[in-house]
């Protein structure tokens, strides 16, 4: 199963926008584990996921061709 990942801010420095094969991963909890293992930098950071433009607040099923966004908080003004 392939999904698209987009990222923002500092996270985009190490997770480029990309299409990834996540065969074996079926929900956002598992995806988080996969992302933190593949990109250890984010395990040290505050970030949030959105699935198909909806903020993820609890574990949610992922389907092929879904769009997952990864964003950190910004504070600059």
């Amino acid at each position: 199963m392939e999904i698209d990942i987009i990222s923002f801010g500092k996270i985009s420095e190490f997770i480029k926008n990309q299409r990834v094969d996540i065969t074996g991963i079926s929900d956002t909890d598992a995806l988080k584990i996969y992302l933190e293992k593949t990109f250890p930098e984010i395990s040290q950071m505050k970030y949030k996921l959105a699935l198909n433009e909806n903020l993820i607040q609890q574990n949610t099923q992922i389907s092929g061709n879904d769009l997952v966004a990864i964003m950190p908080p910004f504070s600059g003004g």
Partner: protein, 369 residues
């Protein structure tokens, strides 16, 4: 009321006298007269928002001028709120501008916010942003949130009920503030002046839409804007359940974010001189840069513990009484000091080298020999 000043917006289909009247009756507090605050203030004042408050305790610096467009070179060292008030009053003498030359603190933020109907947050640090968010939740004040990082911006409206009656706030997205040093601000990271200009202007637009009820303001939505690609990404926010916000003023006054109080009591930032004198005592110096970063320091003197491997380091036993963390610019070392402080509390003295190795090049060039 129907002045020539607002003629071009009053004749807009869907705006008209009614919307203009709503603007003239609105009271908006803009917090932070910086890169976001300046353009937001200009457009809110020009559009005829009846009463605008400006809260900022800073003075104008030369390095502000490329993005803080209300200020001139001759304003350097003068209080921002005073200059901003003067400029805006000249621009539109028909409205009221109130200056609040204060840094918002827990003790007085509630009293300040009570006088306003809308709050626009253009501050430059997480501590202020969480304080403003929590105060707005307590008071039920609509909050227009605008922030930048690198070439990107974030924009959202909090504490306004959507059609389902749902109200979200900043903690629904990010329940806990990042550690100091985790996310670099404009001072460390740099910012192209026009970016906060765009985001601040968009924040003013959202404020005007919210006041007048036109269009679809970003209620319970977060907009991500990228200056380099002009890409915009909008996501829907829903309530989270992993945080608590004070429900009354007494609790609010007692509330603290562990991240920020640790800042007050935890570790000490030191310079190379102090580092030198600590080296004569029972001290471990820890280099938290990644292994590829230059200059490579002598690992006999500077224990290597890259941030990506930091939890392993924290699990190991440390005998020394003093711990000094160093990195390239003194930002990651704060994060490390913070984490060490969480583990050791006051049982060890914890330090971070201010400005990092880059700031004390001569000292470290000597040390690598």
């Amino acid at each position: 009321m129907a002045t020539e000043r607002y003629h071009r917006q009053v004749i807009l289909h869907g705006f008209g006298e009614t919307a203009q009247l709503l603007l003239s009756k609105a009271r908006v507090l803009v917090i932070g007269a910086g890169g976001i605050g300046c353009p937001a203030l200009q457009y809110l004042a020009a559009a005829g928002v009846g009463c605008i408050g400006i809260a900022d305790d800073d003075t104008v610096a030369l390095s502000n001028l490329h993005r803080q467009v209300l200020f001139n070179t001759e304003d350097i060292d003068k209080p921002k709120v005073r200059i901003a008030k003067k400029r805006l009053e000249k621009m539109n003498p028909e409205i009221e501008i109130i200056s609040h030359p204060v840094r918002l603190e827990r003790a007085h933020i509630i009293a300040l916010l009570k006088d306003y109907d809308y709050v626009l947050d253009g501050t430059d640090n997480f501590e202020s942003r969480y304080l403003i968010n929590d105060a707005c939740v307590l008071l039920g004040k609509p909050l227009i949130f605008a922030a930048v990082s690198g070439f990107e911006g974030q924009l959202a409206i909090f504490n306004v009920a959507d059609k389902q009656g749902q109200r979200c706030n900043y903690r629904d997205i990010f329940p806990i503030p990042p550690q100091p040093g985790e996310i670099a601000g404009c001072a460390e990271n740099g910012v192209l002046g026009v970016l906060p200009g765009i985001i601040g202007t968009m924040a003013a637009a959202e404020t005007i839409k919210l006041i007048t009820g036109i269009g679809r303001p970003l209620i319970n939505q977060l907009l991500q804007y990228n200056l380099l690609s002009q890409d915009q990404y909008k996501m829907n926010i829903s309530p989270g359940d992993d945080y608590a916000i004070a429900q009354n003023e007494d609790d609010f006054l007692k509330m603290t974010d562990p991240v920020f109080c640790a800042l007050e009591v935890g570790y000490t930032e030191i310079d190379a001189e102090q580092l030198l004198s600590l080296q004569k005592q029972s001290t471990i110096i820890v280099d938290v840069r990644e292994r590829h970063e230059l200059p490579i320091l002598n690992e006999q003197i500077y224990k290597k513990a890259p941030m990506t491997e930091f939890p392993t380091f924290l699990d190991s036993d440390i005998e020394e009484e003093n711990m000094v963390f160093i990195c390239q610019h003194g930002i990651r070392s704060i994060l490390a000091a913070q984490a060490a402080q969480e583990k050791y509390g006051t049982s060890k003295n914890i330090y971070s080298l201010i400005g990092g190795i880059a700031n004390w090049k001569n000292y470290f060039l000597e040390a690598t020999k």
